[in-house]
């Protein structure tokens, strides 16, 4: 299996407003199709919000990893 190449990591830990999802949406809009973006979030709501938006917007959620005090989401822009 080939290694995932992350082109941008957004550290949104401690961001309540506008919040990690808004940062992700912005990054996805700025990215090229095929680019992979990682978002770090300490907000529990992200586990609900981020997969929901990624699916609705037609992108791909490559992974969700729980780390110490935060979660890493890796998303690929698909269209």
């Amino acid at each position: 299996m080939s290694e995932i190449k992350i082109s941008r990591t957004i550290d949104a830990r401690g961001s309540f407003c506008p919040g990690p999802l808004m940062e992700l949406i912005r990054a996805v809009k700025e990215a090229q199709v095929g680019e992979v973006i990682e978002v770090l979030s300490s907000d529990q709501g992200s586990k609900h919000d981020i997969p929901l938006w990624v699916s609705k917007a037609g992108h791909t959620l490559l992974s969700i990893n729980d780390k110490e005090g935060y979660t890493s989401f890796i998303v690929k822009k698909a269209r």
């Binding site: 550290d11 961001s15 309540f16 407003c17 506008p18 999802l21 940062e23 949406i25 700025e30 938006w53």
Partner: protein
């Protein structure tokens, strides 16, 4: 004598200039560069659009807000040269610095969303807010769609506040029953702050403001009066109000100091530009994922000023910004909410709209000029 050069005469830059010039009288020359020389109280735009505020009341000469020993240069900074510690100006002159503060704010870029400029109103600049006021005055009924045109944008609660102001405005005109208000949110909820969202959703339902979530604007078609989302939906309108997307200042992009959005990568605690010991960033110009708002710039500016003073005098340790933000939202009918949070403390959900929170906003609007820019509050 050290040279402290500040780019931008908004709230952040003005506070840093006033504190450093006051406390470093014998140790530093403080220079502030601002292309317009005008200081705008931007929270006032919402009252220009939806109320009876006049532009002349929310603009002052930057000079009048600065200590006498701050050197104000009314020119545009065109390039930052960190290697040689220089700032180039639009007339070809240059300025040397020992410490640079980037407080260049953000600029709106409606042209980045197809059809937005032609098809939508907004209230993020003086002229645009006046134009919206005129459009609302002649609106006698129909569907008003209000939302976010692109990310990021200043003051995340502003679109929800605008929806409430529309409700209040048409209620006062006695035609609320003829106006349908639809709110578009880029998120899966109405309000950016999750803890506060149930409360705001309830307020929207009481005010009969319809809402649509996960609506990230892709483009606007003014011909058919429709706005389309990245998620594949469409919404028709009679009058459209969209907060335009924002970017960092041109000088940041021209200097190669910004990310893709023109925001300066910044240490979220020390507020130093990443990779530089002599450049600080304050307010909207940072890439820190927190609210781009006056209150953020206000609290950050105090930390930046103290850190520059500590570096120059060699006294004290580097201070850390804790992510503090405080804001007042006006829900109309002389009621509002006040929110406060930082990196580790989410906001407490309000239990009701209060007159005191509304009053807090009114007092801040009136007292701003005599308090915040001085850096003493």
């Amino acid at each position: 004598m050290k040279n402290v050069v500040i780019l931008g005469g908004g709230v952040g830059g003005t506070i840093v200039a006033n504190i450093t010039s006051r406390k470093l009288k014998k140790d530093a020359n403080v220079t502030l560069i601002d292309k317009s020389g005008k200081h705008i109280y931007q929270p006032g735009f919402v009252y220009v659009a939806f109320g009876d505020e006049q532009i002349r009341n929310i603009v002052r000469d930057e000079h009048s807000l600065l200590n006498n020993n701050v050197n104000l240069i009314t020119k545009e900074a065109t390039k930052i040269d960190p290697k040689n510690r220089k700032v180039l100006l639009d007339d070809g002159e240059s300025l040397d610095y020992d410490y640079l503060v980037i407080a260049t704010g953000s600029r709106i870029v409606p042209e980045e969303v197809k059809g937005l400029k032609e098809g939508a109103y907004h209230f993020y600049e003086a002229e645009a807010a006046e134009k919206l006021r005129q459009a609302l005055k002649s609106f006698t009924g129909g569907k008003i769609v209000v939302g976010v045109g692109g990310l990021p944008y200043k003051c995340p609660p502003a679109p929800a506040e605008a929806a409430c102001q529309l409700d209040y405005y048409f209620e006062k005109r006695g035609i609320r029953d003829k106006v349908q208000i639809e709110f578009l949110s880029p998120l899966p909820r109405v309000f950016p702050l999750e803890a506060v969202n149930p409360f705001v959703t309830k307020i929207f339902e009481e005010k009969k403001i319809a809402y649509h979530t996960f609506f990230n604007v892709d483009y606007v078609d003014p011909e058919v009066k429709k706005v389309y989302s990245l998620e594949g939906e469409a919404m028709d309108y009679d009058l459209l109000i969209l907060v335009p997307p924002h970017r960092g200042a041109k000088v940041i992009e021209e200097s190669g100091l910004g990310d893709r959005g023109g925001w300066v990568p910044t240490d979220k605690y020390t507020l130093k530009a990443k990779g530089f010991d002599d450049i600080y960033v304050v307010g909207d110009a940072t890439d820190i994922p927190i609210s781009k708002a006056g209150a953020t710039a206000h609290y950050e500016a105090k930390i930046v000023a103290d850190n520059i003073i500590n570096q120059i005098t060699g006294i004290g340790d580097l201070k850390h910004y804790d992510g503090k933000v405080r804001c007042f939202c006006d829900a109309g009918f002389n009621r509002g909410i006040s929110l406060s949070f930082d990196y580790t403390h989410p906001p407490k959900p309000p239990s009701k709209l209060t007159f005191s929170a509304y009053l807090g906003k009114v007092i801040l609007n009136k007292m701003y000029w005599w308090t915040i820019p001085s850096g003493r509050f």
